[in-house]
């Protein structure tokens, strides 16, 4: 990005470097809520990008282009919050894909657990491109609600980097890494 400014400086230490060097300043107390087991999932509306394909997979009954998590006809939803520039996320995508394949083969679980991804900081076109490049079969969505989710602290001690699993009606039941789910599935 070039905007034509001649005296642009970057403070590479960033906010945390400054904060480490200055205990005062305009800091405010952290007041973020913490997502814990049993909490309600933050309200979330998403836009279907691959309309028919994703609508069928998520078993959404209405014909609108936007939907909320409550519209998904499965008991559990596993959501990956990813960023396409995050190496850990790319690694996790492979695990999600493997888990999706396992679910697809299981006639019972296929309808009980649905997987979807939300591109943090990504727009529709980027999400579509990422899905194609990574050959991801489960639905991906642009950021819409990722900010509200990111505004929550994760459960203390949770192992997941960005995985949130919740009941369809919105009550958060579990936060865990897909890697661990795969291990459990494989009897590890």
């Amino acid at each position: 990005m070039r905007l034509g400014y001649n005296r642009v400086h970057r403070l590479p230490h960033g906010y945390f470097g400054w904060r480490a060097a200055h205990s005062s300043g305009e800091d405010v107390q952290e007041t973020l809520p913490q997502l814990t087991v049993g909490d309600f999932f933050p309200s979330c509306h998403l836009v279907l990008l691959s309309y028919s394909r994703d609508k069928d997979y998520l078993q959404i009954q209405h014909d609108e282009k936007t939907f909320s998590l409550e519209d998904i006809q499965s008991e559990y939803i596993l959501i990956e919050l990813y960023n396409e520039y995050c190496h850990q996320c790319l690694k996790e995508v492979k695990e999600y894909k493997a888990f999706y394949a396992l679910l697809t083969e299981d006639s019972f679980l296929h309808n009980q657990v649905k997987i979807m991804g939300i591109g943090v900081g990504s727009k529709k076109r980027q999400v579509a491109k990422f899905r194609k490049q990574q050959t991801i079969d489960f639905p991906l969505f642009e950021k819409d609600c990722s900010r509200s989710i990111r505004s929550y602290k994760k459960q203390k001690g949770a192992t997941g980097e960005g995985s949130i699993s919740g009941e369809r009606k919105g009550r958060l039941v579990l936060i865990m890494a897909c890697e661990n789910i795969l291990k459990k599935k494989n009897g590890g």
């Binding site: 642009v8 970057r10 960033g14 906010y15 300043g25 727009k123 980027q126």
Partner: protein, 119 residues
């Protein structure tokens, strides 16, 4: 003899200065400098920024983290406009206008940008 002695003193001075500088600079500094060279901006240290604040000069300080992080704490007088890594390649025209409005028309104004950390 005097000439050799002066050379030795100068060499030792440079060596100690180098060691002192290496102690002050974080390990990633060279990488940050290389990135700054590629992207066409300069780096500013914490001490230099402190001097800017103390000199009370007109400069813009911009926090490019998401707004909810900014609200939790930010540098003094910092404005906030989120900038994603993906926007390094393509910047939406609406967002470009937002940046230009915030930064102002003076292209020689000193602008200091920061995010979470270098990593």
């Amino acid at each position: 003899m005097t000439k050799h002695l002066m050379s030795l003193i100068l060499s030792l001075s440079l060596l100690f200065a180098g060691i002192a500088l290496a102690k002050e600079m974080p390990l990633w500094w060279e990488q940050a400098e290389a990135e700054a060279g590629r992207e066409g901006y300069d780096l500013i240290t914490l001490e230099e920024l402190e001097s800017l604040y103390q000199a009370d000069r007109d400069f813009m300080i911009l926090d490019v983290r998401p707004d909810y992080e900014y609200k939790r704490g930010h540098l003094p007088k910092a404005a906030n406009l989120e900038f994603h890594l993906g926007e390094r390649l393509t910047l939406d025209p609406v967002k470009r206008k937002e940046f230009e409005k915030l930064l102002g028309s003076d292209k020689d104004r000193t602008i200091v940008i920061y995010c979470r950390s270098f990593r």
